[in-house]
Amino acid sequence: MKGTQFNRAAPESDFACHASSWIVALLLYLYAGTASAELSSRALKALTLEELTNLEVTSVSRKEESVFKAAAAITVVTNEDIRRSGATSVPEALRFVPEIHVARRDSSSWAVSSRGFSSINSEKLLVLSDTRSIYTPLYSGVFWSVQDYLLQDVDRIEVIRGPGAALWGSNAVNGVINISTRRAQDTQGLYSEALLGSEERSAGVRFGGTTAGEVSYRFFGKHSDRDSSATPSSITQDDWRMSHAGFRADWEASTADAWTVQGDAYYGNVGQLSPSIAVGGRPGPTGDLEAEVSGGNVLARWRRTLDATSDIQVRAYYDRTHRDDQSFRDDLDTFDVDLQHRFAPASNQELIWGVAYRLTYNQNIGKGIFAVSPNESTDSLISAFVQDQISLSEPLQLTLGTKFEHNDFSGFEYQPNVRLSWELSPRHLLWSAIARAVRVPTRLERDIDIDVNPGANPMYRLEGNEDFESEELQAYEGGYRWQAADKFALDLTAFYNRYKGLASLEIGDPYIAADGRTVIPIINENLNKGRSTGAGLTATLVPLRAWRLIANYSYIDMNIERGGVDLNNNRFIAEATPRHQFGLRSLLDISDRWQLDAQWRHHAAIRLVADRISAYSELDVRAAWRATPAMEISVVGQNLLHDEHPEFGSPRTRGEIERSVYLKFAYGI
């Protein structure tokens, strides 16, 4: 909501004005919900053998099995987890994954990090949406605000903590987040939702069908409108709007061939509390700061099953993003093609190998003080990977893999890993891994060009550094999983990371410019180094069949030493992640029709160079009513413990997160 007293009142009165029209909408909904899209156990057992054999099914269990046996710290956030968390955005849905730190800086930006290095850039975390990278090479990070999905059609979010670079490639240093949408076969029929809340409003519709030629498809659209956060010290506002639409088609052309074609596009206006780029000593853009953002992509994938143990897959996509704010205008075009082949060279081995090529074209036009030079840059990335999973004996699995790549920023990179899993019994699993991963330089680190004190002599100039290398991680990790019958499960992970060549801002060798003035360059160098140790725990208890309790705890201890001057205090990023985080979720099915869920979290204090953010706890509560088999009405209260609280950023750049409540209608669930 808005910052000043005057503005703060406005949306609330809006809310009241709308109440009457929403009551009408609610009544219409009650009428509408007659169809059944999900079968109750009563309905299931009434089906005849013939009906059962003709029922379309969705497959949900396969991944759970692989998760239990995976030799990596992996957590799957399912569609149901997302719905029951009350989250309305991807970062919010990740709050209860251990070792992940999610902190909302303002209404539209989140610091999402894995195993430390919390920052708005989240540069050491790779994020993929249906295998398409949504990580921007400009400054390494994800603009979370433009990832505004219709969450009902998100099948799952796989979160891998620790290096995933051997499979996924560079920048998968501290983790990989893999967002997967549902297959078109699984999103048939109509779904619509409307959300009305004190801080946000949104509406979304999806329609899925199947053509005579057995091609399943869906179309969807969503629009959302979020209010500003509480900004007592800022005159700017960070309210934002996003529209998103797209499609997906899946076709099983034969028993061996499967095709997927999908695409989506978005457009939005995102209010900003502070400029994207700020340089100490230079006045930044003033006035109402706002980014106009748009983008779109198309992706095609073909998979052929060769036999029970082998398949081949080719995937290509084109992606375009546009961002225009008061600091710069940035356009990025990405073309990416990827081939992978899986087969069993021996009865106890499964080998996957692949090759990929990515071409990016970026144009960044600086405004005011900001500039990158050259404005335009075309960069390519060629990579190959191979991974062999070997069953040494029935319970012992060894995985060896590596990725090789050549990129235009740092040249050749290799990122190997070794993983071992030991299934002590069907219910106990131990695993460990050693891996190397790198975070490649960003375009800003290579090409930035800002005069800090133009006209002065000597003049300081923020310059890109062609010699800046990748940051390197050597990671050691291990874990233990225990599935005690169906009542209790435990997942414990621990890690020790050593980082070399971390970025620091340093003073370069002075030179004489063409106009005779002395220029003192300020450049990125790889002079910091660090280490971190930590652990993550998830415990699931099912005291009753209808009641699940999930607890998690994360611990991280991090230390970064500077090797040079470290002008921008990069070493203090070690203190930006809370040392302790706790979470507790309770998911209760009161009856077939009623659900009552609550989630509580606690974060220890953090420090962002000079600014401390105190420890805080927050609580969300959700009550949902299945009015008809296909329709759900829910009320969600978020951040209930405080009127408003800060999570990230300095007092100048952050907005405080306010207590909020929303009402949601979902039909076709």
């Binding site: 809006d14 709308h18 029209s21 929403w22 909408a25 219409l28 909904y29 009428y31 509408a32 919900g33 007659t34 169809a35 059944s36 899209a37 999900e38 079968l39 156990s41 299931l44 057992k45 005849t48 053998l49 013939e50 059962l52 054999t53 003709n54 029922l55 379309e56 099914v57 969705t58 497959s59 949900v60 269990s61 759970e64 099995e65 239990f68 076969q185 699984d186 048939q188 029929g189 109509l190 779904y191 619509s192 939702e193 409307a194 009305l196 509406a203 519709v205 329609f207 409108d225 099983e252 206006n269 109402d288 706002e290 029935e394 019994s425 069907p426 219910r427 019958a485 209808a546 039909y667």
Partner: protein
């Protein structure tokens, strides 16, 4: 700014319109197609098997002894199989669902579902149950090849059945023609 106009003046109309569209569409388009999760359907099949398979009377300790459906390995059905079976009986035998890890616990089971994950491999389970009066059920086309009685195979997004009649005979089970009609028979 244009966005300010958008944010402050249009919402009233915009939201009312969106709400109307979102609420009216279900009425306009009508019923959503039913879909079920794979293991919900398989749970329903297991329940039906209890009715379409006949066990020899000796396989029950008494006339009131339960008909026991066992899962070996991890339970992929969640609570569905328990819910479906709750309060149900076949003739005088109440249905009972149990989840086991050890082969030795399978004595007294009438139906054994061999879970993919976290259990002994199917070949071991089948070897252990060979000669016993047990309806063995498992996933994949190779399950009946290995000597299992009924296999679930996924074909075109549907769950189809395979029946190995030799295995059924060895286990002294009589499978109703109704069940055989919807299944593919393998040997």
């Amino acid at each position: 700014m244009s966005s300010d106009i958008f944010a402050r003046n249009i919402p009233r109309l915009w939201w009312a319109l969106l709400a109307l569209v979102a609420t009216l569409l279900p009425i306009a388009v009508g019923q959503a197609a039913p879909a079920a999760s794979e293991y919900d359907v398989k749970a329903a099949f297991l329940f039906q098997f209890s009715r379409f398979v006949e066990w020899p009377p000796e396989s029950f300790a008494s006339a009131n002894a339960p008909l026991t459906i066992c899962i070996i390995g991890r339970n992929p059905f969640g609570s569905t199989l328990h819910e479906i079976s709750q309060g149900e009986s076949v003739q005088t035998h109440a249905l009972e669902v149990r989840v086991h890890e050890q082969l030795g616990d399978l004595d007294g089971c009438h139906i054994v579902f061999v879970s993919h994950s976290a259990g002994p491999p199917a070949s071991q389970v089948l070897a252990y149950l060979a000669g016993k009066r047990v309806l063995t059920v498992g996933d994949g086309a190779d399950f009946t090849q290995l000597g299992g009685v009924i296999g679930f195979v996924n074909v075109d997004g549907k769950v189809r059945l395979q029946v190995n009649r030799n295995s059924a005979e060895t286990a002294q089970l009589r499978i109703s023609a109704k069940l055989l009609r919807v299944a593919e028979q393998v040997s």
